[in-house]
C-alpha cells in the first residue's frame, strides 16, 4: 500500500507517574475510516489531544502527509490539514451557527486585517465566498435554515453535527471525531453514521473516530484500534477485534480465578 496519510509512531505521554498513552502507533491511509475504541479513561481523547498539539508528545512522531507535526502549535496543525470535534461540545456558543462555520473557513482566507478594515474589493469577494462555502456546509448538515440562531440554542444533536460542519470548514485532510454519537438516541445514531459516510465520500476526508457505540463502529469502520490504559491491545478489522480475548477482557473484565 502507498504511504499513509497520517502516520503516528511510538507516541507516549505521561502525566507525572501516570502513563496516559504508551507507544501508540497508527497508520491512516487516504480515504480510510478507522476507529479508536476503548473503555472510559483509556486515553482516547488524550491521543486526539496529542495529534492536534493540545499536548506535546514526550516520545514518538506524528506525520501528516510526510510532514512532522510534533511540537507545532494547535493552529498550525489545523492549517496543515487536521481538524477535530470535541467530546464535550466546544462550539462558539454566543455566536450564530453560520459564524461558527465561518470562523473555521477563515483559516483558508487570504485577506488580512487591513483589507478587512478598508473593505477592499478582494476582501468583500472573499467574505461572500466564505459565506457561500459555510452555507453549503450547513446545507449538507441540514442546519442551513438555523444559520442565524445562536449555536448554544441548538438542540444537542444539532450541536454535534455543527461541530462536524465547523471542522470541515477548515478543509481538513484528516478529520478526528471525538464521540460524535455521544448522547444521541438510536435514530440519531443511524442518521449520524450515514452522515459520516456521506461526509467521507463527499469531502474526500480521512476519518479517525472515537466512539463507544460498538454497533456504529462495526458498521462503518474498516479498521479498529483498541486501547486500554493507554496501551494498544488490539488492532484490525471489526471482526478480528470483536473476537480478540484481550478486548473482551478490557471491556468485560477478566474471568476470575475462583471461577464464579
Amino acid at each position: 500500500m502507498s504511504e499513509p496519510l497520517l502516520d503516528v509512531s511510538g507516541l507516549s505521554l505521561a502525566f507525572g507517574g501516570l502513563k496516559a498513552v504508551t507507544d501508540f502507533s497508527l497508520k491512516l491511509h487516504k480515504g480510510e475510516l478507522q476507529a479508536l475504541i476503548g473503555p472510559n479513561g483509556a486515553g482516547k481523547t488524550t491521543i486526539f489531544n496529542l495529534l492536534t498539539g493540545v499536548y506535546r508528545p514526550q516520545q514518538g512522531e506524528v506525520r501528516l502527509g510526510g510532514r512532522l507535526l510534533n511540537g507545532l502549535p494547535t493552529h498550525k496543525i489545523a492549517a496543515s490539514g487536521m481538524a477535530r470535534t470535541f467530546q464535550n461540545i466546544r462550539l462558539f456558543g454566543d455566536l450564530t451557527v453560520l459564524d461558527n462555520v465561518r470562523i473555521a473557513c477563515h483559516l483558508r482566507a487570504r485577506a488580512g486585517l487591513f483589507s478587512a478594515l478598508l473593505r477592499t474589493p478582494a476582501h468583500v469577494a472573499e467574505e461572500a465566498a466564505i459565506r457561500e462555502k459555510a452555507m453549503a456546509l450547513l446545507e449538507v448538515f441540514s442546519l442551513a435554515d438555523r444559520h442565524a440562531e445562536l449555536s448554544r440554542n441548538l438542540p444537542y444533536g444539532d450541536q454535534r453535527r455543527l461541530e462536524i460542519a465547523r471542522a470541515l470548514g477548515t478543509e481538513p485532510k484528516v478529520l478526528l471525531l471525538d464521540e460524535p454519537a455521544a448522547g444521541m438516541n438510536p435514530q440519531e445514531k443511524v442518521a449520524l453514521s450515514e452522515l459520516i459516510t456521506l461526509v467521507r465520500h463527499r469531502f474526500g476526508v480521512t476519518v479517525l473516530l472515537i466512539e463507544h457505540d460498538m454497533a456504529l463502529v462495526m458498521k462503518i469502520c474498516e479498521r479498529i484500534t483498541v486501547i486500554d490504559h493507554g496501551v494498544t491491545i488490539a488492532s484490525g478489522s471489526p471482526l478480528e477485534v470483536q473476537g480478540n480475548p484481550a478486548v473482551i477482557e478490557a471491556y468485560l473484565g477478566a474471568p476470575s480465578a475462583e471461577g464464579h
Binding site: 502549535p73 470535541f86 459564524d99 470562523i103 477563515h106 483559516l107 478598508l118 440562531e149 445562536l150 448522547g183
Partner: protein, 353 residues
Amino acid sequence: MGYLRAVSPFLGAIVLAFVMQFGVAPMFGAYYQKLLIDIGINIVLAVSLNLVNGFAGQFSIGHAAFMAVGGYAAGAITYYGSFHVFGDALVHHGQGDVLFLAATLVGGCVAAVAGWVVGLPSLRLKGDYLAIVTLGFGEIVRVLLQLTDDVMFKRADIEAASVGTLALALGGALGFGGLPFYTSIVWTYFFAFTLLVIAVRLKTSGEGRAFLSVRENEIAASAMGIDTTRYKVRAFVLAAFFAGIAGSLFAHEIGTTLNPRELGFQKSFDIVIMVVLGGMGSISGAVLAAIVLTLLPEFLREAASYRMIIYALLLISMMILRPQGLFGVREVWELYRRPKVSRPQVRPPGSLP
C-alpha cells in the same frame, strides 16, 4: 467602485465630525460643548477597550494607562514642538492643528507599542491573572510619570535642551500643564467616528470573528486554525492605539489637567464600567454607555461625592438584572430580532475537559 465603498465611511466620519461641530454644537452653550467633547473621548475609550474586553474576551483593567502613555507622548510633542516651531505653546490654528494631528497619531503609536508589550504576557495569562497584570501596568505608568521632571516653560531652555531631557520633563506629580487646547469637537468626533467604522467593519469580517472565537472558546478556536495569541495581541495593540489617541484628545482639551493621578486605575475602572454596562462585545452598547456615564455625573453634580456609590449600585443592579449588559453581544440594529430563550446547555455524560 469598490474602492469608493472602501473609503466612503471614513469620508463620512469627517463629514459627520464637521456636522457635530457646526451643526450640533452651536445649539448648546460652552459648558455642553465641553461635555460633547468628553462624550466623544469616552466613546473612543469605551469602544476601543471593547475590542479587548468584549471582542477578544481578555479582561484588561489598565486602559487609562495606554491613554496616559498616548496623552503624554502627544502632549510633549505639541508643547515642546510648539516652542520650536512658533516660539510659544499657544494655539496656532492651521499649522498647529497639523502638529496636533501628527502628535496624536504618534501618541497612538507609542501607546500601541505599550499595548504590544502588555499584550505579550497575555499569551500566558487568563482571566483574573491578566487583569492583575494590566492593573500593575497602569500603576507602573502612573508611578513613572510621577517621577518625571518639571515642565520647562522658557523658550531658550527648551531650545537648548536635548530631546531626551524634554521627554523626561513631563511635570511629575503636578501634571503636565500649559498644553495648547487643540482638542475640538471636529477632532474628537473625527477619531470617534473613524474608530466606530473600524470596529463595525472588524466585527462583521472574518478577522473580527477570529477575535470573537478567542473569547468564546480558546481551545476550539485554535483547533480551527485561529492563532489565538496573535489575535489577542492584535486586540491589545489596536485598542491601545485608540486609547493613546483618546489620551491626546484629553491632554489638549480645555479644562482638563494631564496628571498621573487623573489617569490612574480609577479612570481605567470608569472605562471598564462603560464596556460592561453597554454589553461586552456590543459596539453600540459601549457608545450608549459612554454617553450615559458621561452625562450621569453631570446630572448628579450636587451628589458628586456619591458618584462612585451610584456607579457601584448601578453596576451591582446591572449584574443582577442584566448580567450581559444593556445589549449583550448584540448591536442596537440587531435588537429587533427576538432573543431565543436560552436553554441550559446539555452536557454529555462523563464529559471531560
